[in-house]
């Protein structure tokens, strides 16, 4: 059922109304329409503007520290006994995750648009930290919305944001996690639409956000192509990335969509197990609906109310997913799978102990699935894991599970 994608097909997506096939679009209240249309118009111009691109590239190189290395995990490969395992090291970026690629790009857009006040939602706090960081650097007022449950479990990142000068708003409504933080950020935006730029942290939301976040994150996949040719003389056979909203995954996948030989695996949060209902895996176990400005796979009940989610990892604890992933699922170009909390924690330990690299709990989902997958592949095959972030922020969570107080 898989469709062979061409460059022309990809260029036409999203369409002028932000649709990826049946998904995406712009489902927001009228107050925001004008801002979104202005943002779209400005972005489509700046996208090909050499000065904008040069600024973006320079910031990625000198401030973020790109390109991020492609590292051969030799010992992990040996112990797993299958495909060669390579790691794309987004954890080595400034601020410790891929999120900063996007915040640099959107903050640049904000300054081109003359907006002085920045808002953002955050789950794990990585996007909040990355946003607070660029705001500190550019002297912009910064407000971060974060579910009160996430404020608890990611207290280290909350403090980092405060040190960077951001105001952190704990959101008490609904399930008190990422989706509610996004609701609250949207509410703030409606009230302050004239002077405020909303930096959405993942590849979801109303058009043009899924487009621009994908473009900014695609630096991951572009570098990976070059590095693969350089180091292995060929493209990888399989790419594995975790999927919360899907920004690190789309960034890695997008430059490979027309390369049929490259298999793509997005790993969702299986929580306590898909069969328990306590998970955050809309692509594996949800159905299409409309939330946060776009049509996409969602976790919802039979009445269309959005379900509470569960994941050990705050950054994956979201009932929706970027619309381009929904499209890639339906056309069969990418595989979407899940691993449980327990498997992810085992992945965390393995990478930490075998390679001395401590991945974020989000990224640990990709690691856990990749280890299973690599074991089934031939030794001459190459698998690349997107290590989307580092695990320092999760030490408290892991210690708590171990019954240790720190």
């Amino acid at each position: 059922m898989s469709v062979k994608l061409t460059d022309e097909m990809l260029k036409a997506l999203p369409d002028s109304r932000g649709h990826f096939g049946a998904f995406g679009g712009r489902f927001v209240s009228e107050t925001l329409m004008d801002s979104l249309m202005t943002l779209e118009k400005e972005y489509l111009q700046l996208k090909d503007d050499p000065e904008f691109q040069a600024n973006f590239d320079k910031d990625l190189a000198d401030y973020v520290g790109r390109p991020s290395p492609l590292y051969f995990a030799e010992r992990l490969t040996r112990e797993t006994g299958g495909a060669q395992i390579w790691l794309k090291r987004e954890d080595l970026n400034h601020t410790g995750a891929h999120k900063v690629n996007n915040t640099i790009g959107q903050a640049l857009l904000a300054s081109f648009l003359g907006k002085k006040r920045i808002i953002a939602e955050t789950g794990a706090g990585q996007h909040g930290v990355a946003t607070a960081t660029v705001c500190a650097r550019l002297g912009l007022e910064c407000h971060i919305f974060m579910g009160s449950e996430d404020v608890q479990r990611q207290s280290l990142n909350v403090y980092r944001m405060k040190l960077l000068g951001a105001t952190v708003h704990a959101v008490e409504s609904g399930t008190k996690t990422l989706k509610d933080a996004m609701n609250e950020a949207m509410r703030d935006w409606v009230a302050n639409v004239d002077d405020t730029f909303y930096i959405i942290g993942t590849v979801a939301g109303p058009h043009p956000y899924p487009l621009l976040v994908r473009d900014f994150q695609s630096v991951i996949g572009r570098e990976l192509r070059e590095q693969s040719m350089e180091k292995m003389g060929k493209l990888p056979d399989a790419l594995v990335a975790c999927v919360g909203g899907g920004s690190n995954a789309i960034g890695m996948f997008y430059p490979f969509l027309t390369d049929e030989s490259v298999e793509l695996y997005g790993v969702e949060a299986g929580g306590l197990g898909i069969e328990t209902g306590d998970h955050a895996a809309p692509l594996c176990a949800g159905r299409p609906g409309v939330l946060h400005g776009n049509r996409t796979y969602l976790m919802e009940d039979e009445n269309g109310q959005i379900s509470g989610t569960h994941s050990v990892s705050a950054g994956l604890d979201y009932p929706g997913v970027g619309p381009e992933h929904s499209w890639l699922k339906d056309i069969g170009r990418a595989h979407y799978v899940s691993v449980t909390d327990e498997e992810a924690l085992a992945g965390f330990r393995t990478l930490t102990q075998v390679e001395g690299i401590m991945p974020a709990l989000e990224s640990s989902h990709a690691v856990a699935y990749a280890l299973k997958l690599a074991a089934t592949m031939d030794k001459d095959k190459v698998l690349v894991i997107n290590v989307s972030g580092r695990g320092d922020k999760d030490i408290h969570t892991i210690a708590q599970l171990d019954g240790i107080e720190i």
């Binding site: 109304r17 679009g25 712009r26 489902f27 927001v28 209240s29 009228e30 107050t31 925001l32 329409m33 004008d34 801002s35 409504s173 609904g174 989706k179 509610d180 609701n183 949207m186 509410r187 409606v190 009230a191 302050n192 639409v193 004239d194 299409p288 609906g289 409309v290 939330l291 946060h292 400005g293 969602l298 919802e300 039979e302 009445n303 269309g304 109310q305 959005i306």
Partner: protein, 269 residues
């Protein structure tokens, strides 16, 4: 002519303004909603906007968020809300009812099934907060075909081109959101609203209802003067929240809040 058009036309002929209260269906309990609707009519409502509760009401402030939470605690579903309208219609064949909510519950029910059931129950209009006309191409005709008015929002940020385009997609009335903000947040600026509504009147022949920020007889009168009707939501919902435990007191309190607004509007005639 739809029931909404009929009511607004006859008000206009009498030189009167429409009073359009909003409550969330299922709040504080699904069993109370129909009785509250009748109370609203007794207190002078011309049209009722009945909110369909949603888990993620992105355009609403805390007051209506909490109303959604109370309604969802009793699992108030879209099908049940349609059932409430059916029940209401048994004794009130005249007062138009507009369902106001978010898209996903309708999408989950299926648009065709929803439109059929709504028409059968006597729903007169549908206002979907997160469905701009650009995305409504497949949905709005399903309503129009069944004589249900698709009602769209206009905002302070809406450009002239869009006002014209949105009005073309609307019937019954257009709903002007008077403030930049969520429901129940800022105070309304009467002069600004007057100017904008006058401008909207130049661009469309549809009646213009104004909502967000109307909280008492004074603001109702002031906004009624410059528009075709006022939509009152958060203050009513807040009154429901404060009188949850006593159903008689609740009906009385709602009446006492709404009736002076009716008087203020009628004193303009």
């Amino acid at each position: 002519m739809s029931r909404i058009e009929g009511v607004l036309k006859s008000l206009k002929e009498q030189g009167r303004k429409a009073l359009i209260p909003y409550i969330t269906a299922g709040d504080p309990h699904p069993d109370q909603t129909v009785s509250l609707m009748h109370t609203l009519v007794k207190a002078g409502a011309d049209i009722i906007e009945l909110g369909v509760p949603f888990s993620d009401p992105m355009a609403d402030g805390p007051v209506i968020q909490l109303a959604c939470e109370r309604a969802l605690k009793h699992n108030t579903s879209l099908r049940q809300v349609i059932g409430m309208v059916e029940e209401f219609r048994k004794t009130d064949p005249d007062t138009p009812v507009v369902l106001m909510g978010y898209l996903n519950p309708m999408e989950a029910m299926g648009y065709e099934a929803f439109a059929d059931a709504a028409a059968k129950a006597g729903v007169d209009g549908v206002l979907t907060v997160d469905l701009p006309p650009e995305e409504a191409g497949d949905v709005a005709p399903l309503f129009s075909k069944r004589n249900i008015d698709p009602i769209f929002l206009l905002a302070p940020t809406t450009t002239d081109d869009r006002i014209t385009a949105i009005s073309k997609h609307s019937s019954g009335y257009v709903y002007y959101v008077s403030i930049k903000g969520v429901t129940g947040s800022a105070t309304i600026n009467v002069d600004e609203v007057a100017e904008k509504v006058a401008h909207i009147h130049e661009l469309t022949a549809l009646p213009v209802g104004v909502g967000f920020g109307i909280r008492d007889a004074e603001t109702a009168g002031a906004i009624g003067k410059v528009s075709d009707g006022v939509i009152v939501g958060s203050v009513l919902v807040d009154t429901i929240a404060r009188n949850q435990s006593d159903s008689d007191a609740l009906n009385q309190a709602l009446h006492d809040l709404l009736y002076p607004m009716r008087e203020a509007l009628d004193s303009l005639a």
